[in-house]
Structure formats: structure tokens, C-alpha cells
């Protein structure tokens, strides 16, 4: 007999909530494209955590493998990652999300203004849709996403050896260089647009 889904009867509700948030993001994306002529989003991923990962996470956290755990104790059944073009786009999309109707902000962490000690940068949001469904949203630039993806891969290679402290320092340096480049690109963009609007 097939095991019952950990999401119970809420699978559809999860899908709807995810679609609701994605539609809102896409509408704003089109809006910005229309008015500014620039796409604020490089790409956007959304997923509902797989049965297996959700059960594994319950076990890891010492929670019973129930629908209640999956929907109320754990807050990333819905995961959305918005990879933006420029730093200011991250904040533009964030502003939309924190004002989204039917959603309340449960948690908000700006790891861009307050980078983690290892150099990690992202804007983290946990929203609660219609007082029931949680969604974890990560917003970051292409550079921040690049760093997070590569750092994630390297983290699992540490047991092959090497000077761990040196590696951590160097990864932090890479994060700081990418962050610096993000600001430079933003500055160049602002300058181009400022001059274009002055001559217009």
C-alpha cells in the first residue's frame, strides 16, 4: 500500500499558495520590465519540498512525520528562490513580497546588509499565506547565487583535506569581491540611467 503523503490533503493548498506568490512576483517583474525596460529577475525557482526530504527533515529535527510537522513546525515546504539582476532589484521584489495581500511576514533577515561571517549574502523571508501555509523565499543577485552555489559544492569536499582556515578565508574573500562587483555594476547602471533621463 502506498504511504500517505506527509502533506495529507494540503498538497493542493500548497500548490495554490506557491502559484499565488509566483504570480505576484511575475506580475511585478512584467511591470518593472515595462516601465524601466530592464528585467529585474534573472531566474526564479519554486518547489514544494519532496516527500523524502520533508520526512528526512522531520527526523533530523526530532519531529513526528506528520502533516502538522510538515506544515506548521517546518516553514520551507514551499521554497522560492528569486535570482535578481541588480542589488536594487532584490529590494524592489522584497518590497512587493512584504506588502502582498493575504500574506504576513513571519521572519525577515537581510543577510545582504548584514552578511554572514562566511560571506554569505541573501535576503530571507518567511511568509504565511492565509494564516496557514508557510513559504520560505530567498532573494539574491546573480553574483550572490553564484557564490552560494559554488560554496555549497565545496563545503562537502572539505573532508578531502586542505588548509580549512585558508579555504574559508579565501571563500570569504571571493564573496567580498563579488559583493564589490555587484555594487560597481549597480553604480554603472544607475549612472547610465541617470544620464539617459537627463538627456531625455
Amino acid at each position: 500500500m502506498e504511504q500517505e503523503s506527509i502533506y495529507g490533503e494540503y498538497r493542493e493548498t500548497l500548490n495554490n499558495a506557491m502559484e499565488y506568490i509566483m504570480n505576484a512576483i511575475n506580475a511585478t517583474r512584467e511591470d518593472i520590465k515595462e516601465t524601466k525596460g530592464l528585467d529585474p529577475i534573472e531566474h526564479c525557482l519554486a518547489r514544494i519540498k519532496s516527500e523524502e526530504s520533508m520526512r528526512e527533515k522531520c527526523r533530523r529535527k526530532g519531529l513526528p512525520e506528520t502533516t502538522e510537522s510538515a506544515l506548521e513546525k517546518i516553514h520551507d515546504a514551499i521554497g522560492i528562490r528569486v535570482v535578481c539582476t541588480f542589488v536594487s532589484d532584490v529590494y524592489a521584489i522584497k518590497d512587493l513580497l512584504v506588502h502582498l495581500p493575504d500574506c504576513e511576514i513571519v521572519k525577515e533577515k537581510d543577510y545582504i546588509r548584514h552578511a554572514k561571517p562566511n560571506g554569505y549574502r541573501s535576503y530571507h523571508l518567511i511568509l504565511k499565506y492565509k494564516q496557514k501555509i508557510y513559504a520560505e523565499i530567498q532573494l539574491r543577485t546573480i553574483s550572490m547565487d553564484t557564490w552560494a552555489a559554488l560554496e555549497h559544492q565545496l563545503k562537502y569536499k572539505q573532508n578531502i583535506g586542505g588548509n580549512l582556515k585558508l579555504i574559508e578565508e579565501e571563500l570569504k574573500r571571493c564573496a567580498d569581491e563579488l559583493a564589490s562587483t555587484d555594487i560597481s555594476m549597480q553604480t554603472i547602471r544607475d549612472m547610465i540611467y541617470e544620464e539617459r533621463s537627463e538627456t531625455a
Partner: protein, 222 residues
């Protein structure tokens, strides 16, 4: 600290190298210009002492060859009293200092110390302004967060910190930060000022740079 001594008078060469070694320097001895160049091609030195009058190649020829090979090691020329033109020519050819024979060993030591410390001691490892630091080993701009700067951003920030007591104008910055880049102009300065303003904000510093495009600039702690 490693020093190359090129002096063809054997006794003087021996006296100087013994004294320098005694003071903790590692000394290579050359007795003519060609031997000096051989040493320079094979090793790195912290200071080079060159006598002007030497067989095979004189000190000025050695100096010109090493400078044209982009070797920037500090050079101290040893000259005779009558050789004013040599001294001028030597300084123009890229010597950092000269000493007239006969000299007191004490003075030679003082000049060697002055030349070797220039690189290390004059520059602080870190400059501070308000709530941020600029580290010149890592090119790191740091407050709560940190970012790494490019060479020109670093030099511009360094100049702004050093001159934080007063305004510096666009021309001054062009002459001091972009001296080797004739194509740089006021737009370059403004773009780099804008980069640094953005980066100060990104590291969550409260400091900013005051000033308008084409105008004068000054760091300001808020």
C-alpha cells in the same frame, strides 16, 4: 635584508661588507659592473649599493640596465667628491640616494636603513576613518561587512582618508590617483567616487563622501 654591494676597490668592499654583515644584513659582493648585473639577474635584493667608477661597466650603466629591466630595488650610488654631474645623472637615471666618498660608515648605515624602511615602515597596514578601516594588505574595506576593492578604488579611498581633514578637488585626484592613466578624466573620478559611496553603504558604514560631480570631495562621518 639582502644587499648587493658593487665596489671595485677590494679593501673598501671588504670593510663595508663586513660591517653590513655584522649589522645583520646578508651581503653579496661584486667587484665590477658586469658581475653586479649577474648578481642582480639571479637574485632579489632589498638594496643595491653601486660605486660609479667600476671596470667593465660603470655604476651608471648598471643602474640604467637594471631600471630598464623594471627592477625597482632602491639604489644607493657611491661617488667621488668631484663628480657632481655623475650624481645628478645617477639620480636622474633612477638612483634613490648617493653618498660621497670618503664617508663615515655610520652615515652609510643610516642611508641603507632609510632606503629599506621606506617600503615597509612608512605605510601603515591599515587606515581608519570613522567606523571603517581600509586594509592595504588585502585591499579590504571593512565596517560591519567587508568588500574587496580594485586597485584604483583602493588608491582613491587611501587618498581620501589621508586628506580627510580637507577637501580634494577632481584635478588633484586625477593627478594623484590616475597619474599614469592619461585617458582618465572627471567622469572617471565621479564614477569611482560613486563606487566608493555604494561600497561604504554596502559595508554598513555611516561614513560617506561629500561632493558633486567635477567638484571637490571629502570623507564625512555621519
Amino acid at each position: 635584508m639582502k644587499i648587493l654591494l658593487a665596489e671595485d676597490t677590494k679593501d673598501l668592499n671588504r670593510v663595508i661588507s663586513v660591517a653590513l654583515s655584522h649589522d645583520g644584513y646578508e651581503v653579496d659582493q661584486a667587484y665590477d659592473g658586469e658581475e653586479a648585473l649577474d648578481f642582480i639577474r639571479k637574485n632579489g635584493y632589498d638594496t643595491i649599493i653601486l660605486d660609479i667608477m667600476m671596470p667593465k661597466k660603470n655604476g651608471l650603466e648598471v643602474l640604467r640596465e637594471l631600471r630598464s629591466a623594471n627592477i625597482v630595488t632602491p639604489v644607493l650610488m657611491l661617488t667621488a667628491k668631484a663628480e657632481i654631474d655623475d650624481r645628478v645623472e645617477g639620480l636622474d637615471a633612477g638612483a634613490d640616494d648617493y653618498l660621497t666618498k670618503p664617508f663615515a660608515m655610520k652615515e652609510l648605515f643610516a642611508r641603507v636603513r632609510a632606503m629599506t624602511r621606506r617600503k615597509t615602515e612608512y605605510a601603515d597596514k591599515q587606515l581608519q576613518f570613522a567606523d571603517f578601516t581600509l586594509n592595504n594588505e588585502k585591499f579590504e574595506l571593512k565596517s560591519e561587512n567587508s568588500v574587496r576593492l580594485s586597485v584604483k578604488e583602493f588608491e582613491l579611498m587611501q587618498t581620501l582618508i589621508i586628506n580627510s581633514g580637507h577637501e580634494v578637488d577632481t584635478n588633484y585626484l586625477l593627478q594623484h590617483v590616475w597619474s599614469g592613466t592619461p585617458e582618465a578624466g572627471p567622469d572617471t573620478v565621479w564614477l569611482y567616487i560613486s563606487y566608493l559611496k555604494g561600497k561604504l553603504n554596502a559595508i554598513t558604514s555611516k561614513a560617506t563622501i561629500r561632493g558633486e560631480r567635477n567638484g571637490s570631495f571629502r570623507l564625512e562621518a555621519l
